[in-house]
């Protein structure tokens, strides 16, 4: 594959220079020249009004026998025996992809004392569940989890493997992809099968959410992707569904070199912000820990979770595990209420895909209003006090 400028057509307008997300186009003697920084994304091809840039695609890389790979797999993440909600969402999405491919949907369940959960995965759409149940797998460990999934994938050759873009998924999935020489796309927000080629189209945000990129893996299998919480629709539960449960023996692929000495749950509440449908988030504009309690009260009224900006975390009003944004978590709830948050790009990157955003800020020009569905201009403590009263009333 290559991207080339046709110098005889190039007018030197420089539109492509600013269109390139990677700064890979330079002007030389009034013509655009593509440099080594090019990633062949094709943004310049689309931007050029004169069709002076061409992208040619030739087969690259060591093509494997792609036809040997069949079926869609979902890594079913569990925490202390309960299945992560993102895995149920992935079963919903995986079912769609499998149906489009006319293939089987399988789940892979890894842990200790988790066998009874296999049926739940079948009820949510899996045709088969590989269960690897072993006391040695009680705690998440990169070496052992990767060993299980890698061995299974080598043996059964799935075409697609999906996992949640969680701390666990994003930690051990790359290790599996590395060993399998598979393509892996992180943090996808959209998946689809391309009608013409049958490849998986994986779409994800990049550059702090400023652009979206669609990625394919043309010559390697399996096609692997991690997917964010809440972006896919969970599968409907149907307990009458039947499926196959396959027990898998755990054989470490080598010495397990890391050991979990202790696990500590640190969230000040039970709702994991990545999984919450409603999030009430606070920023520095709240002014004090005392006002932060108001926000916690509103969250309680709505049955939602509490999140914060880095500003609020730095003030010490709430632990870091609740931080949303580029250096915190990415959330995608149905409702996000932003209280006293300015809307810095690093914060917005973590919450802009929320379905409905209500923003409260005393400054009508605060950037948070650019992503808000509803904007309330006013003092945050006053608004929160009123909201607690009103929402309680509405909810009855």
């Amino acid at each position: 594959m290559s991207v080339k400028v046709k110098p005889d057509i190039c007018t030197g307008c420089e539109t492509c220079v600013s269109a390139c997300p990677f700064g890979a186009i330079e002007m030389k003697d009034g013509k655009a020249v593509i440099t080594d920084a090019c990633t062949m994304c094709g943004a310049c091809v689309e931007a050029c009004q004169f069709q002076a840039i061409e992208k040619t695609i030739e087969a690259t890389g060591p093509a494997k026998d792609l036809s040997a790979y069949k079926g869609v797999w979902v890594f079913a993440e569990q925490h202390k025996g309960s299945i992560a909600s993102v895995s149920i969402e992935l079963l919903g999405e995986g079912r769609k992809l499998a149906d489009k491919k006319k293939a089987k949907l399988s789940a892979v369940l890894v842990g200790s004392g988790i066998s009874s959960k296999a049926q739940e995965l079948i009820a949510h759409g899996a045709d088969a569940v590989y269960v690897c149940n072993d006391p040695a797998l009680e705690h998440f460990n990169d070496d052992s989890y990767a060993a299980v999934l890698t061995a299974l994938a080598q043996q059964h050759k799935p075409e697609i493997i999906l996992a949640g873009a969680t701390a666990i998924g994003r930690s051990f999935f790359p290790k599996v992809a590395s060993t399998l020489y598979a393509g892996l796309t992180a943090d996808c927000t959209m998946l689809d099968i391309d009608d013409a080629t049958g490849h998986l189209h994986q779409t994800r945000p990049a550059f702090g959410g400023n652009i979206m990129a669609t990625i394919v893996t043309p010559n390697h299998r399996p096609q692997m992707a991690t997917v964010r919480h809440k972006v896919m629709k969970p599968a409907q539960r149907d307990d009458s569904r039947k499926g196959e449960i396959i027990d898998v023996k755990y054989t470490p692929s080598g010495p397990v070199r890391t050991k979990v000495l202790k696990t500590v749950d640190e969230l000040t509440e039970t709702v994991n912000i990545c999984e919450a449908d409603i999030i009430v988030a606070g920023g520095r504009g709240l002014g004090s820990r005392k006002n932060f309690l108001l926000l916690e009260e509103l969250a309680k009224v709505l049955g939602g979770a509490v999140a914060a900006t880095r500003g609020a975390v730095d003030e010490g009003w709430i632990p870091y595990s609740h931080q949303v944004g580029q250096t915190g978590k990415t959330v995608c709830p149905k409702l996000y209420i932003a209280c006293g948050i300015s809307g810095a790009i690093q914060h917005v990157a973590g919450m802009q895909s929320s379905e409905t955003i209500v923003a409260i800020n005393k400054d009508p020009d605060a950037p948070i209003f650019n992503v808000a569905t509803y904007g309330i201009v006013g003092d945050v403590t006053e608004v929160l006090t009123e909201m607690i009263k009103k929402f309680r009333e509405v909810r009855g």
Binding site: C41, G208, T263, V264, S321, K390
Partner: protein, 261 residues
């Protein structure tokens, strides 16, 4: 203790804007910086060196101008730098990047620990750390917020998880990625800046690190970007007006209608 830090030069994404008319990225004047998470990696390496002795080497793969990032690393106190730069590396995805870095690390040789950032802010993939570890055949632990202790050939660290944190023991050498919580990076010293100024960065080519060209750059990358486009703009926003009670009542009504509350 010999430590290798993986440093990536990235455009400062907080400065990147979208031109809403042409739907293209405005990069003019956007400065290149060391990936912010890699600053924590550098700092942690320097602290470990101060405690246990040894040497810190910063490694990057990128175009020739990535040497600037390495100079900045030297100004902060890094002892040695390695730049992997070659046309053959161009267009690499995370797999091919990790392969090149792992070959660079093999050539550097003797190391006890490799530290990378949690993720790079341009791609946000968080894959290069774990993939590089796998290719080196060493253990990997993500999201480290604290190194509790280093003793002989083992290290105990705190790893951030979605629900809290784990205390994990690992054998050395290993590769870790670090999060913001781990430290507060220092600023360059005057002496460091002088050293950086006079530094000549020499680049290693694919051949220099004995890399298989079929696994490098675009050719070696399993994934390809087929399309880049701006995110769909959010549906119309509505600024409410009136007293606080009016505004809240209006929002409550709308949220109720959408069965959100």
């Amino acid at each position: 203790m010999n430590i290798i830090v993986l440093v990536k030069q990235v455009p400062d994404t907080s400065e990147v804007k979208i031109n809403r008319e042409t739907n293209t990225l405005i990069r003019d004047g956007v400065p290149s910086i060391i990936n912010p998470f890699d600053m924590f990696a550098i700092e942690e390496a320097l602290r470990l060196r101060e405690k246990h002795g040894g040497k810190v080497t910063a490694l990057t793969m990128g175009p020739p101008q990535a040497a600037e990032a390495l100079k900045e690393a030297v100004s902060l106190g890094v002892d040695d730098v390695v730049l992997l730069s070659d046309r053959a590396f161009a267009g690499a995805d995370t797999w091919a990047t990790s392969y090149a870095l792992s070959m660079g690390i093999r050539k550097i040789g003797q190391y006890d620990l490799v530290i990378a950032g949690k993720q790079a802010i341009d791609g946000d993939t968080a894959q290069v750390g774990p993939e590089t570890a796998d290719m080196l055949g060493i253990p990997f632990i993500a999201y480290i917020r604290k190194i509790e202790k280093v003793e002989n050939d083992t290290m105990v660290v705190e790893r951030m998880m979605d629900e809290g944190y784990d205390v994990v023991e690992t054998s050395l050498p290993c590769l870790i990625t670090v999060v913001k919580e781990i430290n507060q990076p220092r600023v360059p010293s005057l002496k460091g800046k002088m050293k950086a100024k006079s530094l000549k960065v020499t680049a290693w080519s694919a051949k220099d690190v004995n890399a298989d060209e079929n696994k490098l750059g675009l050719k070696g990358s399993p994934t390809q970007v087929v399309r880049i486009f701006p995110p769909a703009p959010r549906g119309g926003r509505e600024m409410l007006s009136g007293s606080v009670a009016d505004q809240v009542a209006a929002v409550a009504k709308k949220l109720k209608e959408q069965s959100l509350i």
